[in-house]
């Protein structure tokens, strides 16, 4: 006896609509490949470039609670804004974020990162100075590396002091693609 896609969908959306989930997620398509997007009742919590749900269910449950369920409704505003971003019609995100999985220093850095404007780049050292830790470029690099919400928190806009792209969780080609999309690199 197999559950039909329609019945399955109805349950998932009812669960999300009733606010019963610790974290809801969905896999969305994008020009840089499928993304797994996860949100809690506080806001957008994670974006993963490797979009296989099985890789992340346990981690999401550990971080936010066991009521983890795939449902489009949980992430619809993030989904819509990401679509607009990738189509070039959106240059800033208006989304609540849930950073409770990050340490206080990381949260401070991520708050500052969120202020780096669309289409511009900054360096690890500049960002470190802005959070009052001028010698903390390496620590800032670590925070970028563990950024729970890439793209929306734009760690792709942070480059090395000599302008090199340095590194990116989604791969350097993705970083380059995002910067070209924003016009920060010449197409």
């Amino acid at each position: 006896m197999t559950v039909t896609p329609d019945l399955d969908l109805r349950f998932r959306e009812a669960a999300a609509a009733e606010g019963l989930l610790d974290v809801g997620f969905d896999v969305i398509e994008s020009p840089i490949g499928p993304l797994l997007v996860a949100a809690t009742n506080r806001g957008l919590a994670r974006i993963f470039f490797d979009a296989e749900p099985e890789l992340h269910l346990e981690r999401l449950a550990q971080a936010y609670g066991p009521r983890v369920l795939r449902s489009a409704g949980s992430v619809d505003s993030a989904h819509r804004q990401l679509d607009e971003y990738f189509s070039g019609s959106r240059s800033s995100f208006e989304l609540d974020v849930d950073l409770r999985g990050s340490a206080p220093f990381a949260q401070h850095v991520l708050d500052e990162l969120a202020r780096v404007p669309y289409g511009q780049t900054t360096t690890y050292g500049t960002l470190a100075a802005k959070v009052g830790s001028p010698r903390g470029a390496r620590a800032v690099g670590m925070v970028m590396n563990r950024n729970p919400i890439p793209i929306v928190l734009p760690c792709h806009r942070v480059v090395g002091a000599n302008g090199s792209l340095t590194g990116y969780a989604g791969g350097l080609d993705v970083k380059e693609k995002l910067l070209r999309l924003e016009g920060a690199l010449l197409a």
Binding site: T2, A15, E18, L21, G65, P66, R67, V68
Partner: protein
């Protein structure tokens, strides 16, 4: 926040048991009623999920929720007489609540088998599904549970 999670992520639990639950509800309620009860079963499971102490016997647990819904649904669909008001009963607890209470001291598998068989009237085929075993093993677990209850030999460690 690092919670010690002992139950699987709900997504895994749901995907693993949804077909069995729907099959059970279809046999008991048929078509549309089964679909309504399916959604309600998993919504109830979701509401209780973060209060579970452990991840054992989850299939039996969710089938118990489904079976309780079947009982509620059947009761609702009975015609109600408006002429004779219902007589209040001293002990208004339904049979399944009493048996669940009584069986609380049994070892987990026997408890599940006794409750599913005698409180929810599940067939041994369904109980076997719930316990992930065979109908014969389910029958044995239920009867040894009943023997234990009759003899009053319930160990404290299960109470």
């Amino acid at each position: 926040m690092e919670a010690t999670v002992t139950v699987p992520p709900f997504e895994s639990f749901y995907v693993e048991h949804r077909d069995v639950v729907l099959g059970f509800l279809r046999r008991r309620l048929g078509g549309q009623a089964a679909e309504d009860a399916f959604q309600e079963t998993f919504l109830r499971a979701l509401r209780a999920y973060d209060r579970l102490d452990h991840g054992e016997h989850l299939r039996a647990w969710v089938l118990t929720i489904a079976a309780r819904l079947v009982i509620d649904t059947s009761r609702r669909s009975k015609p109600v007489s408006h002429e004779l008001p219902e007589v209040p009963v001293e002990d208004g607890r339904p049979a399944y609540a009493q048996i669940e209470h009584l069986a609380g001291g049994l070892p987990p598998t026997e408890r599940a088998a006794v409750v599913l068989r005698y409180a929810y009237d599940l067939a041994y085929d369904d109980i076997a599904l719930a316990l992930d075993s065979t109908p014969e093993a389910a029958r044995q677990a239920a009867s040894s549970g009943v023997r234990r209850l009759r003899a009053g030999r319930i160990h404290d460690r299960y109470a």
